[in-house]
Amino acid sequence: MSLAQAKHATRRAFGGRLLERAADDASFVVFESDLGKSSLSNMFGDAYPDRYFNLGIAELNTMGAAAGMAAGGRTVFVAGYSVFLTMRALEAVRSVICYPKLNVKLYASHGGLTAAIDGVTHQGSEDIAFMSTLPNMKVLVPADSVSARAACDLALATPGPVFVRLMRDPLYERYEAAETFTIGGSKVVRPGKDITLASYGDIVFQALQAADALAGNGIDAEVLDLYSVKPVDAAAVIASVRKTGALLVAENHQKRNGLGYDLAALLLKEAPVPFDNLGLEDRFAESGDYFKMIDKYGFSAARIAEAAERLLLKARPRR
């Protein structure tokens, strides 16, 4: 299967949808910390200057001020790089947003290694761990433009804090405009019967390409897009592994405390099957080309396919 090249990155799709929604929904505003040209929240700021607050290079205050405004009933999108929103401002997100369940939505661009060329300081490679650990926080990671637009709608429609992780660069398109997405939902993007490949965001495309490669070796892989990382669609994961008998999780994130850890715990309790997970191996990455980087650090299509073959060999040695 060939993947359709995307014209726009998910940050652009999300920001564009926010702009569309603003026309008939005056209930929300956007806060920025001087990265509007990178998050692309500046599109909103240009169109709605009275609803756009650029609070300078001061993410902690931006987050706290967002809480203050949300306490009055308004919905506030806070835009920025994932690493700064989720780590510089982490304690504000925890204590004054998640704890009192305020309507603050994190519009987090440059998630994972998608800021690859900028190096480790700009890579949000632990963001999912921090956000998914916080009570009351929901975590969405759209893979393409359609799902990024849907994530914007879900963030607006869902009470309480929502974190949306977005990518810097255009990758591929997968979904038709009519596709529906839900908090706690997932998509089987490729049905199969021999192994389940689960991922979210950009790595969904790597999993799809891995599935194509595996098909050449007679392995029929099922690919899940777990775009709702928290709450995760546990029922779909369990149903899939009951069919395939093996789970391989790949993510653009630290392995530790990422989706792989979450699903490993789920399977141990509910449906023990052979399992492996791919991601950063308790180390920082570096500057470099995105595609070379995800290959070097172990979660490209080639690495996923190799890991799937290894896992199946271990699981069914006589296969």
Partner: protein
């Protein structure tokens, strides 16, 4: 307010502040936990705000146009809970439940617990940021309410205070007032030895804030200064209030020792006797 009316009102409020101090001591004694001397030091300011200065209605605690209050120094919350109860937001008996399992009176204030709490605080510095957001929201809604935030003088060590101060000046938030409770003491000792922040007035002025000063235990001065702070609408105002940590209980005054310590029964009895005697 003319001078005679002001003097009479100040006397009435002094009596309420005495009650407030009793409840602070009583709550922390009952809980055997909590911050006692920061509440005692802020009792006069809190009384002035909740019984005179702020536009609030305990019967309608979520009124859209109400003034907002942010206890940025959230650890002082026994005095916030007590003033809310005395003002009629919830029953006074509930004060005895401070810090107990299942109580609405959490160790630090949280939105959505008792009515009258406008901000979640306790993480120092973040109240100031929330106050900025509330002031921006007031302006968006076209409301004329004032946002009052009470900050500790140790709390202004936090960098986010200055991020918030820059933002408030950028947006010329004339509906925002910070009150710095300048008692000179923080947890580990005198502020000027832990982290010297003087000149506080000139720091705020340099951030383009209007700075006012008051004696945080002179009720007439407090009322007059807070009114002036409310009336100034050209930009944010910082009121530096000279206070005595532990004010009203002699052995708790001017020491860091009672910042977060509960009195035993004997100390409690002495404290209550002093407070009762003091307002005879």
């Amino acid at each position: 307010m003319d001078a005679t009316v002001l003097a009479r009102r100040a006397l009435e409020l002094d009596a309420i502040a005495g009650d407030l101090r009793f409840h602070v001591v009583d709550m922390v004694h009952e809980a055997q936990s909590g911050h006692i001397s920061p509440g005692l030091g802020a009792a006069d300011i809190m009384t002035a705000l909740f019984f005179e200065t702020m536009r609030i209605d305990p019967k309608n605690p979520d009124m859209a146009g109400r003034d907002r209050f942010v206890l940025s120094k959230g650890h002082s919350c026994p005095v916030l809970y007590a003033v809310l109860a005395l003002r009629g937001y919830f029953p006074i008996e509930e004060l005895k439940t401070l810090r107990r399992l299942g109580s609405r009176l959490q160790g630090h204030p949280v939105i959505g617990t008792v009515p009258g709490i406008d901000a979640t605080s306790g993480s120092l510095g973040l109240g100031a940021s929330q106050a900025v957001g509330m002031a921006l929201e007031g302006r968006m809604q076209g409301q004329s309410y004032t946002v009052w935030a009470l900050l500790g003088d140790g709390e202004i060590d936090e960098g986010v205070i200055w991020e918030a101060s820059a933002a408030a000046a950028k947006y010329k938030l004339g509906n925002l007032v910070f009150i710095v409770d300048r008692n000179g003491l923080q947890t580990d000792g005198p502020c000027e030895s832990v982290m010297p922040m003087e000149p506080i007035d000139r720091k705020f002025e340099a951030f383009n804030w209007k700075v006012l000063k008051m004696d945080g235990h002179d009720m007439a001065d407090i009322l007059t200064t807070l009114q002036a702070a409310r009336d100034y609408r050209s930009g944010p105002v910082c009121v530096i209030a000279s206070t005595v940590k532990g004010k009203g209980v002699s052995f708790m005054e001017n020491t860091s020792e009672w910042h977060a310590k509960a009195p035993n029964d004997e100390q409690y009895a002495r404290a209550v006797a002093e407070l009762r005697g003091g307002r005879a």
